[in-house]
């Protein structure tokens, strides 16, 4: 068996004249969390829909869990779980009833299914809500059930299309934690889409940046950032209330430091090179009696990466893409521009 969970080869989807996904090729390794990062209308959902057999490709091919998505769609479906943009749940049914229905569509015997549903509910701490109707839940609770619903068949591969869209910060954190746990505890390969830089950065082993139907960059988060800064250089900002010329000169004379800029009486920006440059800097500052109130790592973000590669910022492609409305929640929060 190979180590590849998903392969996409020149995968293309056209809606009439409009090319939503344009000859995309990538692989996802088994056990990996792979992120598709891109603005609204980039084609993320369309890729997910083609890979999860909901939509047929216009051109190109793809395999999921070793099966061709077009020729062996039924086989593919047995091995995948899908959390799509809209929640796949019936509001008038209870959590357990929803999970049972989908479990039965995967031909899971009743006794096995019952136990599995119990475990899944435990997994997201929703046991006491099992027999409550979905429409009595908060959006965060709904999304937790929605995610475990995609796990009833114990899929090898889990598709998550904007799993934190429309959630408040606390629920967002919970769902991200859940994604990580699914990946670690079940060894589930995960492919997720997001327009949030931080989310991709936090969760993904590798990221494909997608813009206007094309993958414009693909690497680990660190690799992508390095491609912007060009080296392993890092930029730190220290806030030091008792900053004086002595402290300043000692920092300047440190070997790994390439430049120091003083913005105001209490802030300095330090560029340094090397893996242990941060430790060295803190040691030097301490030795010279500096009180460090705050430190910020001003390393390049994915936003910088995106800006550099595409030449435009991550924002809505207003003309082309209507923002999908999620049931029961406000539209997704836009990523804030980095505050300086």
């Amino acid at each position: 068996m190979s180590d590849v969970a998903i392969t996409a080869t020149r995968l293309t989807k056209k809606f009439g004249d409009f090319t939503a996904v344009d000859h995309i090729s990538f692989n996802v390794e088994k056990g990996e969390i792979f992120g598709l990062l891109g603005p609204n209308g980039a084609g993320k959902s369309t890729v997910i829909r083609m890979l999860s057999t909901l939509s047929t490709s216009t051109e190109g091919s793809a395999t999921v869990a070793g099966f061709d998505v077009r020729k062996e769609a039924a086989k593919v479906r047995e091995h995948i779980g899908l959390v799509s943009e809209k929640m796949i749940m019936y509001d008038e049914l209870t959590a357990r009833e929803n999970l049972t229905l989908f479990g039965k569509l995967y031909d899971i015997p009743s006794d096995v299914l019952e136990k599995r549903i119990g475990k899944l509910l435990d997994f997201v701490r929703m046991q006491q809500w099992a027999d409550h109707r979905i429409d009595t839940f908060s959006t965060g609770m709904k999304q937790r059930i929605n995610v475990i619903r995609a796990l009833v068949n114990q899929p090898e591969i889990l598709f998550l299309d904007e799993p934190t869209l429309g959630l408040d910060p606390q629920s967002t954190a919970e769902v991200r934690e859940l994604v990580r746990r699914i990946n670690i505890e079940n060894r589930t390969t995960i492919i997720l889409t997001t327009h949030m830089m931080t989310e991709a950065d936090m969760l993904c082993d590798r990221i494909g940046i997608i813009d206007r139907g094309k993958i414009v960059a693909m690497d680990t988060p660190a690799g992508l950032k390095r491609s912007v800064s060009g080296s392993d250089a890092a930029l730190f900002e220290f806030e030091i209330p008792n900053l004086d010329s002595n402290i300043l000169s000692s920092v300047k004379s440190t070997g790994s430091v390439s430049s120091v800029v003083q913005d105001d009486p209490t802030h300095i920006k330090v560029s340094s090179v090397g893996d242990d440059s941060f430790d060295i800097l803190v040691d030097v500052l301490r030795k010279n009696g500096a009180q460090i109130r705050t430190v910020r790592n001003l390393e390049p973000t994915l936003e910088d990466v995106f800006l550099k590669i595409t030449g435009h910022e991550v924002r809505d492609e207003v003309a082309k893409a209507p923002v999908p409305q999620r049931r029961g929640g406000p539209p997704g929060m836009r990523p804030k521009k980095r505050v300086r």
């Binding site: 479906r77 995948i80 749940m89 008038e92 009833e97 039965k104 569509l105």
Partner: protein
């Protein structure tokens, strides 16, 4: 994919649909109210003979007595006696034409009867006694009914008078008098016992129509709703055949359609005095056949309509002609011939016809063979067209 697996999956999908249905109070209430409204509505739009009772009618007796006898008075007395039996009218006194006219305009009365001042003298002089009947023309349906009822009453009274005259003047015995006056008599006799009523005519058609509606509107609605909500994706991404999804939906919609059909049957029998002449089993089988004949159409609309709105629009356009041209409310035989041709293309025509034949006329299988055949063929052909269309539409 094994057939048993498809059936098992579809049973679960049907279970889900019915569970959703049963949890929605509004839909549960509508399940019973819709057939009830339908029957009541029909009852009100088409007043039947015996639905006329206690209609306010103004009566102006202007007759002048001749030698102390007023035939007008005896006419009025007779009219009141007849009315006591039938209870059709609520008679009130009026002065004359203008008085009655203003009362009709005010909506106080539905019509009026005038016995003119020369009534007695005319009759005594050997002329006909004229009686004027006024009706409210703004209500043509009522006006026509009133007119015919009053005319009948008055004619009947004239007939009695004539019999007595014959007897007294020419010595014809009272037993022979009717044959002399009216040599021909028409006796109406239906082929089933009892008085036919309008509900017996419409109830079978409405049953067929409700079943049709639950499939033609319910099925596309159920599927496009799930498509819009995104829940359909969950089923499509599971290893479930498209057949199972459509079959599950059809089963759920048919169940609610059948339930509504039975509610209509029950209401017709309990509230509207309809009696079922034929076999109940045959009625049941016919309803199931009706379901089958409309499933294909429902699926076809579903595959054309990508959004819920479009689905609603398409089915509205299709349904209204079906409702009115298929002889559910008006007999097809009364329609112009090109409309009759049109009606012969609509499956509802055959479903309503077959159900009516069995329920009202007590017909057996042979009598409805054509209807059954047409419905079966229509259902099969549309299903054969619809299923590939649906499969294509599901994978955009």
């Amino acid at each position: 994919m094994g057939l048993r697996r498809v059936v098992r999956h579809s049973a679960w999908i049907c279970w889900k649909d019915l569970l959703e249905f049963s949890r929605s109070k509004l839909r549960m209430v509508m399940l019973v109210l819709m057939p009830l409204f339908m029957m009541m509505m029909v009852g009100f739009i088409f007043p039947t003979g015996d639905s006329i009772s206690q209609q306010p009618i103004a009566l102006a007796n202007q007759d002048l007595a001749v030698n102390g006898t007023s035939l007008g008075d005896s006419f009025v007395a007779q009219l009141e006696a007849v009315n006591e039996q039938t209870g059709m009218m609520d008679l009130s006194d009026a002065v004359g034409f203008d008085d009655i006219k203003s009362k009709i305009q005010d909506g106080e009365v539905m019509g009026g009867i005038i016995v003119p001042s020369t009534f007695t003298s005319d009759i005594l002089a050997g002329r006909q006694g004229n009686i004027t009947v006024l009706t409210d023309q703004s209500n043509p349906q009522m006006s026509a009914t009133m007119q015919s009822v009053l005319t009948q009453v008055i004619e009947q009274m004239g007939f009695l008078m004539a019999e007595q005259n014959l007897n007294q003047t020419y010595g014809v015995s009272l037993e022979q008098a009717p044959a002399v006056l009216k040599p021909y008599n028409v006796e109406l006799k239906g082929i089933v016992p009892g008085d036919p009523n309008y509900f017996e005519f419409v109830a079978p058609g409405i049953m067929a129509m409700v079943v049709m509606m639950s499939l033609m509107t319910g099925l596309p609605h159920a599927i496009s709703y799930e498509k819009d909500m995104g829940t359909l994706d969950g089923m499509l991404a599971a290893p479930t055949s498209r057949w199972a999804i459509i079959l599950g939906k059809v089963m759920a919609q048919s169940s609610t359609g059948l339930i509504q059909g039975f509610i209509i049957l029950l209401l017709s029998v309990l509230l509207f005095g309809v009696s079922i002449q034929g076999s109940i089993l045959l009625v049941l089988l016919l309803i199931i056949l009706t379901v089958f004949s409309f499933v294909g159409l429902g699926i076809l609309i579903t595959s054309f309509a990508d959004k819920e709105e479009t689905a609603t629009m398409v089915m509205m356009t299709l349904m209204f002609p079906m409702m009115f041209l298929s002889g559910v409310f008006f007999p097809i035989q009364q329609m112009p011939s090109f409309m009759q041709t049109l009606a012969s293309f609509l499956p509802l025509t055959y479903a309503a016809d077959a159900l009516r034949k069995v329920m009202v006329l007590g017909a057996g299988t042979e009598a409805i063979l054509t209807d059954v055949l047409v419905l079966a063929v229509f259902g099969s052909v549309l299903l054969a067209v619809a299923v590939p269309m649906f499969k294509k539409a599901m994978s955009r």
